[in-house]
């Protein structure tokens, strides 16, 4: 493993920000840590970089314990959330900074700066002042600066956080393509699930300083580990249920579940696509509380006569209006039985 954390723990005062985290990143792997703000994901990066000392546990790079190795000797790169470009240097001066620190010759520096600025799509920008750059351009310069010394591990803190949506969506594709070509090992953190799923080979979801789930984007999306992960991913139809043979008893009545579902008192996730609208006299009777336009579909919020609210995904034309009476039927294929305790 290129990077491994073993029981990494950091406390700020009485608060445990990283709680015995174990994490391994293989060479050429792109791992994205996903979590709400305050879940400890930035602290994780700082601990690996050597900017935040651990209270216990260890960080290994290439198998070597990094205790006592200061940040500037770890050979990892970190792209800061708000870039932290050096204001008194121009673009070239920023990109070549790490090369100078590693004693590269002037010639090597200028060649590498040109190469990297081409790579991030800012050819010929070396002489520009960083204050004159747009947000997206600063982002690219920060990336070039972090890549320049060829770090064995590149870490990105909310890499696309401050950019507008269309730019973000374009850049995330470019980044994945770039890292693939360069074979860079990447550990990124973000609170944006879209970004994480688009960028990562593997997604790690964090909650309160612990790892809640780790897996491929598809695995995490299809089978959230517990109610917290499901709700963090934006699913609202999460309830406690008693799972029996092919059917579960829920506040919404009996709901079909996949045959291989584990039995007992469980947490049940009903994806919006699994909530099918039927005429009012069939299925679970509900009133349409609200509808939200989502571009490709309409999210319909339903208030059953009995039980918690439900969200359904509807085709644009088929969506009912607020106040309409409808019935609901459930599709077993879009229902998952989750592990872990029930979310509040």
């Amino acid at each position: 493993m290129l990077l491994s954390l073993e029981g990494a723990t950091v406390r700020f005062g009485g608060r445990t920000v990283l709680d015995a985290v174990d994490l391994a990143v293989a060479e050429h792997e792109i791992v994205c840590v996903l979590g709400p703000s305050g879940s400890g994901k930035s602290t994780l990066l700082r601990a690996v970089a050597g900017l935040q000392p651990l209270d216990s546990g260890r960080v290994r790079l290439d198998g070597r314990d990094q205790s006592g190795v200061p940040a500037h000797r770890r050979g990892v790169g970190l792209m800061f959330q708000d870039h932290q470009l050096f204001p008194q240097r121009d673009v070239g001066g920023n990109v070549s900074f790490g090369l100078r620190m590693h004693g590269a010759s002037r010639r090597e520096q200028s060649d590498r700066v040109r190469e990297l600025l081409d790579l991030v799509g800012l050819p010929g920008a070396a002489g520009r002042a960083v204050a004159a750059l747009s947000g997206g351009e600063q982002q690219r310069v920060a990336l070039a600066r972090a890549l320049a010394p060829s770090p064995r591990l590149l870490m990105l803190d909310e890499p696309l956080g401050q950019l507008d949506r269309s730019l973000r969506e374009r850049l995330v594709v470019e980044l994945r393509d770039l890292f693939g070509r360069l074979g860079t090992t990447v550990l990124a953190v973000t609170h944006d699930q879209g970004e994480a799923f688009a960028l990562a080979d593997r997604v790690v979801v964090m909650r309160d300083g612990r790892i809640a789930q780790s897996g491929s984007p598809l695995e995490v999306w299809q089978r959230p580990a517990d109610a917290f992960v499901a709700r963090f991913l934006g699913f609202e139809n999460v309830v406690e249920a008693t799972v029996g043979d092919g059917v579960a008893v829920t506040p919404w009545g009996k709901v079909p579940v996949p045959d291989d579902a584990p039995r007992g008192t469980r947490t049940l996730l009903v994806r919006p696509a699994g909530v099918r609208l039927v005429p009012a006299d069939e299925g679970l009777p509900c009133t349409v509380a609200a509808r939200t336009f989502r571009g490709t579909h309409v999210a319909v919020h339903l208030q059953p006569d009995d039980g918690p609210r439900l969200e359904a995904a509807c085709a644009l034309r088929a969506a009912p209006d607020a106040g309409d009476r409808v019935g609901v039927a459930f599709e077993a294929a879009e229902i998952a039985v989750l592990g872990g305790g029930l979310a509040p």
């Binding site: 970089a49 900017l51 800061f80 320049a148």
Partner: protein, 550 residues
């Protein structure tokens, strides 16, 4: 690396940085001051603390204490009254010549007290401009001292309050207006509370400077008016009553300590919890007759109060003799000096340069140590301690140098370095006050960014901090230079008769009768003023609004 090891390494680094400043202050400040206080209050190895009661019982000492306090209070109130409109105008208005006005109001602050005293003599003294025009003389009244104090400290208020005012977000007031507050109510409930700590800090600084005023009162006070500092000088060098001087020194020390503690507290409050914006976006053109009248009033005040005394000084240096007074400066007259007075220029520059180098080194190291994020209470205490030389009797320090630094291994009496060392003591607080806010404003994550790119802590400091604080460093050096150049209280004791500095030469010339001596004093003061003003105008080109507290 575990946290404990990191903390140990951090405090080791801090101790290393602090070692030199601490040693400097111990040897060249604490030791001489203690030595002279001990000389005055210790007989046969026991402290004569009863002297406090004896001295305080003397009516003329009480008179001095009373005068020192009330003139400082009145000077502070007057300065605030006159300078706050100036602070507002320079903070919120945008008008042609603003930069020049800003530079002009700062010139008096770096002028040597001796020059200020001389300039006011030329304006309101016997045979002064007002005397010639209307027969008005103020040099026998307290007004001359008060006006000179306002002149001297105008910049302190404009810099401290105006600097913050220009960065207060005007949208805060707008938000209050939108919630139904009138223009005045919005100002009173939003802006005024935000400004209050800065006003308090400025007022305390002015109070400190006027409470310990020496050169101005020495020249303008005549025999009637005497501050503590002047009285300490008189007791030490004229009456040779060291025990009274020691008691007065201790009283001043306690008072200054209290003022500085209050000041540190208000400054800390000022540093917290305010939303600041770039000063460039808050200023706009004056609108309406009222605002233009305010601007005109401020310009008139600056012209009358700050420029006129200096102009009169220059005029007097030429009066009746053309360049004669200047020419006379190059000749030995045998009486006042052993050398031609003009040599004082070279002496002053040499001393001031050496003092600047020392002050920047000591103050710079102390600032870097104080910036470290893990700085604790001990360090904050050191922060306040660094300000002490501003207020502790310079006369005491100077005389302390003479009696304390006269034995091996520290026999410096015959050494030229004695003068720069004393001057550097006064320069260090300015260096620290200028550097500290800038160093603290450097985002710690820039340093971290440099570290993950492979820069060692020292390299990161050199590559990231230094370029960002280079201007502040130059400004600090300039202030230290100007202050050293004008230092009078300590230098008057330790400058050797054959190597006088400019302020010492001016004071000696003023102390002798005759038009030629008076004219020469004016000429020499003009030279000193020009050197200081040039140093300051160079600085003003470097300065931004965010730099420093002075």
């Amino acid at each position: 690396m575990t946290r404990a090891a990191t903390a140990r390494r951090g405090s080791a680094a801090r101790l290393g940085l602090m070692a030199l400043p601490v040693a400097f202050f111990a040897v060249f400040f604490a030791y001489p001051v203690t030595a002279i206080v001990a000389r005055g209050l210790k007989t046969d190895g026991t402290w004569q603390l009863g002297r406090f009661a004896d001295v305080l019982a003397q009516p003329d000492v009480r008179q001095v204490l009373w005068f020192t306090t009330w003139q400082a209070l009145v000077s502070t109130a007057l300065t605030l009254l006159v300078a706050l409109p100036g602070a507002y105008v320079l903070a919120r208005f945008d008008f042609p010549g603003k930069q020049v006005l800003r530079a002009v109001v700062t010139v008096p602050f770096v002028l040597p007290t001796v020059v200020v005293g001389t300039a006011f003599m030329a304006l309101v003294g016997r045979g002064g401009l007002l005397d010639e025009l209307w027969g008005v003389r103020l040099d026998t009244t307290v007004w001359a001292i008060l006006l000179a104090h306002v002149f001297f400290n105008y910049a302190v208020v404009v810099r401290t309050v105006g600097g913050l005012w220009s960065q207060l977000d005007p949208r805060q007031e707008e938000a209050a207006r939108m919630l139904g507050a009138s223009r005045f109510t919005a100002w009173r409930t939003v802006t005024l509370p935000a400004l209050a700590p800065a006003v308090a800090a400025a007022a305390l600084m002015v109070f400190l400077f006027t409470f310990t005023s020496f050169g101005v009162v020495q020249i303008l006070g005549g025999p009637t008016f005497s501050t503590l500092e002047v009285e300490i000088y008189r007791q030490t060098s004229e009456i040779f009553d060291l025990s009274t001087a020691a008691v007065l020194t201790m009283i001043q020390f306690v008072a200054v300590g209290a003022i500085l503690a209050l000041h540190a507290w208000t400054v800390r409050r000022r540093e917290t919890a305010l939303r600041l914006v770039d000063a460039a976006v808050t200023a706009r053109r004056p609108r309406g007759a009222g605002q233009w009248a305010l601007l005109a009033g401020v310009v008139a005040t600056v012209a009358g109060l700050l420029l006129l005394p200096l102009a009169v000084l220059v005029q007097r240096s030429f009066a009746g003799a053309g360049l004669g007074h200047y020419r006379a400066l190059t000749q030995e007259d045998g009486g006042v000096f052993l050398v031609p007075p003009i040599e004082a220029v070279g002496n002053s520059l040499r001393y001031a340069l050496a003092a600047t180098a020392i002050a920047v080194l000591i103050g710079g190291l102390a600032s870097v140590a104080l910036t470290r994020r893990d700085a604790g209470r001990l360090v904050r205490g050191f922060d306040a301690l660094l300000m002490l030389p501003l207020g502790v009797s310079a006369v005491t320090v100077g005389f302390g140098f003479l009696i304390a630094l006269d034995e091996p291994p520290l026999d410096l009496r015959a050494s030229w370095i004695l003068v720069p060392l004393a001057q550097a003591l006064v320069g260090v607080p300015f260096v620290v006050r200028t550097m500290l806010p800038v160093l603290r404003a450097v985002d710690v994550r820039l340093r971290e960014a440099a570290a993950v790119l492979g820069a060692s802590p020292w390299r990161a400091w050199r590559e990231v901090d230094l370029p960002l604080v280079r201007r502040a460093l130059l400004i600090a050096a300039g202030f230290a230079f100007a202050v050293s150049l004008g230092e009078f209280g300590a230098t008057v004791f330790i400058a050797r008769p054959d190597n006088p500095t400019l302020p010492v030469a001016v004071a000696r010339l003023l102390g002798r009768p005759g038009d030629l001596n008076y004219g020469q004093a004016m000429a020499l003061s003009t030279i000193l003023m020009i050197v200081c003003a040039v140093a300051l105008l160079v600085l003003e080109r470097l300065r931004t609004d965010r730099t420093g507290e002075f």
